[in-house]
């Protein structure tokens, strides 16, 4: 075992925290560590938690952490919040809801800003998840606001994706629109103590059972939770744990691997094209309508 792997495996938190910073910053010293990081992984269940702002994701994650801690698991959390596209600043507020576990040495939580750089957060969260895995955390939860494409992508890199909705999510047509619900392996209708929660869950079940989805896929279970009281949380944790083996079927594993490689390929191509030096001129040529975007991309790739 190498120094890094041994250090992570020892459970020391500072080296892990420093490594996560380097990963987040796209530090070039991380690249040579990747093969080792993946080899040191202990097979953690990587779970994506996403949903609209205010649906109670962080509170639900807080309750789930409690449930898994009772089951003797060490839990890692990556909580992603958006960066401002104008100032690059961000408010990372997910810790507020997770302070129950602030002093628990077997819970490691890291807030990440989406940063909106090339590849965005999706480019770094999977490496960060691998680091938490190598440090012995299992499950590893990745929480994102389900508002944009990059967040959806984060969820797609997870083995199990939980979409959190609220009873007021809208009518049946919302449920069959493409997007968030389509990527769900499990759906939690949170704030279950509000009127209409059971009805919303029933409607979702009805619509999802008639809609087609990804290949060879059963409709995702719809569960009602009340994160603030813990109602339904143990059942949700059970369902997530049960999904682990399903997520590791050869077909699902291959689909996820394809997403990961596609993601890495796009990041790599973009980074190389930008660093090759012709980026500014090529972008300007597209702005001046001298080139179409696809031809421009071909030029950059062929350099």
């Amino acid at each position: 075992m190498s120094d890094l792997a041994a250090e992570l495996a020892s459970g020391a938190r500072r080296p892990l925290a420093r490594l996560l910073t380097r990963i987040e910053n796209g530090d070039p010293t991380v690249r040579p560590l990747l093969p080792e990081l993946f080899a040191a992984g202990r097979d953690a269940h990587v779970i994506g938690i996403t949903g609209p702002p205010g649906s109670g994701k962080s509170t639900l994650v807080n309750a789930l952490i409690g449930e898994w801690r009772r089951r003797g698991r060490r839990v890692g959390i990556l909580a992603v919040d958006p960066s401002s596209p104008y100032t690059r600043g961000a408010i990372l507020g997910d810790r507020i809801r997770m302070m129950d576990h602030a002093a628990d040495r077997d819970v490691f939580m890291r807030s990440m800003a989406s940063r909106g750089e090339l590849g965005g957060v999706a480019a770094t969260t999977w490496i960060a998840a691998a680091a938490l895995d190598a440090a012995g955390y299992d499950p590893v939860l990745v929480e994102t606001v389900g508002a944009g494409q990059s967040e959806v992508e984060v969820a797609r890199l997870a083995e199990t994706t939980v979409v959190v909705e609220v009873p007021e999510m809208g009518d049946e047509v919302q449920a069959i629109k493409a997007g968030l619900l389509e990527i769900a392996d499990l759906i939690a209708v949170n704030k279950g103590d509000r009127p209409g929660a059971d009805r919303a869950a029933r409607q979702l079940r009805a619509m999802l059972s008639t809609a087609g989805g990804r290949v060879e896929r059963k409709p995702p279970p719809v569960m009602v939770t009340t994160a603030t009281t813990g109602e339904g949380v143990a059942a949700l944790a059970d369902a997530i744990d049960a999904h682990r083996s399903q997520a590791r079927s050869p077909l699902a594993a291959r689909e996820r691997a394809a997403n990961q490689v596609r993601r890495a390929l796009a990041d790599l191509a973009a980074r190389r094209a930008v660093s090759a030096g012709a980026w500014e001129a090529t972008v300007q040529a597209v702005a001046d309508r001298e080139l179409d975007p696809l031809t421009a991309a071909e030029h950059l790739l062929d350099r």
């Binding site: 500072r14 960066s83 600043g89 961000a90 990372l92 507020g93 810790r95 302070m99 940063r115």
Partner: protein
């Protein structure tokens, strides 16, 4: 990307039993607009919770907002716990109502700066930009 052009990460916390978080929230929002990544942990934090959060988040700065009068107990304890966890280069700053006599003592135990009422967010941001130390 080099460490020089990545956003400064700051943890903003309210230690102790003090329910007045308007100032902390205004500062969080203001620093976001100054391009900082602000981790806000909310009210009623113990020094242990703050040090643990700062460690996991690997922040450059810990900003403590305190209006309760318990600063002479809570601030030195927080600094001590951060140093015990090996975070020697983390800048600790405080804001709130703190008497001048205490300011001197707090600086002696490692609080880098104390921002009283009326300090502008621009001043605070500038101070952090100038004083954050990062390993190469």
């Amino acid at each position: 990307m080099t460490s020089a052009d990545t956003p400064i990460r700051i943890l903003i916390a309210k230690p102790g039993l003090d329910g007045h978080d308007r100032g902390a929230k205004v500062l969080a929002r203001g620093l976001r607009d100054e391009g900082f990544e602000v981790i806000y942990t909310g009210l009623r934090q113990t020094p242990e919770m703050i040090a643990d959060a700062a460690e996991q988040e690997d922040v450059d700065v810990v900003g403590l907002s305190i209006l309760s009068g318990a600063h002479m107990a809570l601030l030195p304890k927080t600094v001590q716990l951060l140093r015990e966890r090996g975070m020697d280069d983390v800048l600790v700053a405080a804001g709130g109502i703190i008497p001048d006599a205490d300011v001197t003592k707090l600086k002696e135990v490692g609080v880098a700066e104390i921002f009283g009422p009326g300090t502008s967010i621009g001043e605070i941001a500038r101070y952090f930009r100038e004083h954050v130390r990062r390993e190469a």
